[in-house]
Point group: C2
Chain length 167, copies 2
């Protein structure tokens, strides 16, 4: 008998033969594993581009670009990060001259974030790269890709709102 799915207790030597057990029905497993892969790929594409490393930077760049004057906590919520983690990211981006932090006129506690010209340019560059990042899933058909995105988008928003209520 050769090694294969029919004999789960045999020591496997090919990944395809691995039986994931409970994990095979666990959404978080796939999200967490794929996270490593897509992050690796994305960072390779962004190499040297001053926004490499970390989910927060790209999200911040785009959200500030799309919503000038947006506040840090909004970006933190959208990126599902801690406020303090986002503050650090924004501090870095400010040092890099990508964004400006101004005080909100209505509420002194709130910061109003804006892209600098340098930030705008970078946002354009990164946007193109992010669009290309779909190539990582070149094995996946457009239908499949659209289906997963639709489903994950729905889940994403429900989680975001749920986080908002708690945090």
């Amino acid at each position: 008998m050769t090694a294969g799915k029919s004999d789960p207790s045999a020591a496997v030597t090919r990944v395809e033969d691995v039986d994931l057990g409970v994990l095979d029905d666990t959404l978080s497993f796939f999200i967490r594993s794929l996270n490593l892969a897509v992050t690796r790929d994305l960072e390779a594409r962004l190499e040297g581009l001053e926004v490499a490393h970390g989910t927060g930077r790209i999200t911040a760049l785009f959200l500030i670009g799309r919503h000038p004057g947006i506040r840090p906590s909004m970006i933190a919520a959208a990126a599902m990060k801690d406020r303090s983690a986002m503050a650090r990211v924004l501090g870095d981006m400010e040092k890099q001259g990508l964004i400006r932090r101004e005080a909100d006129v209505a509420d002194g506690r709130v910061q109003a974030l804006h892209l600098t010209e340098k930030g705008e340019k970078l946002a354009d560059e990164v946007r193109a790269i992010v669009r290309q990042s779909r190539d990582f899933f070149h094995d996946i058909s457009d239908e499949e890709y659209a289906q997963v995105i639709d489903l994950l988008r729905g889940i994403y928003w429900r989680v975001v709102k749920s986080n908002q209520q708690k945090g």
Copy 2:
């Protein structure tokens, strides 16, 4: 005019009004954001349970349990991790008395991994918790949950195989 999706350039104060721009069509964005949320939730559930922190541990525990004698690189591939990163995880788990590392009889370079009794017990505990972790998505219907899983499972395996060829 009140703030809302119709005026994307206005500074938003509610997360629901945030326009994700390109990210709204980017699979990796949703995977990376949701990764943070599900990881947070999972680690809260595993609190104090000796496998907290890091994707690798749970995957290792289950795969070794299901495939006694499996080698480190198989687990690394399934968890989409670096071999050296997985080596570290396995070293920790050995110190904790969860697994044994034996030399493979056929190939001296290869290690054959086994769960200890303590590891078996922990695997059972963790399995129950992982099953419960579906509750994190209580907003999501069974149909939706099954659909995403099916799609992500397919993507997962294609990525795993693709990694295998390169790495």
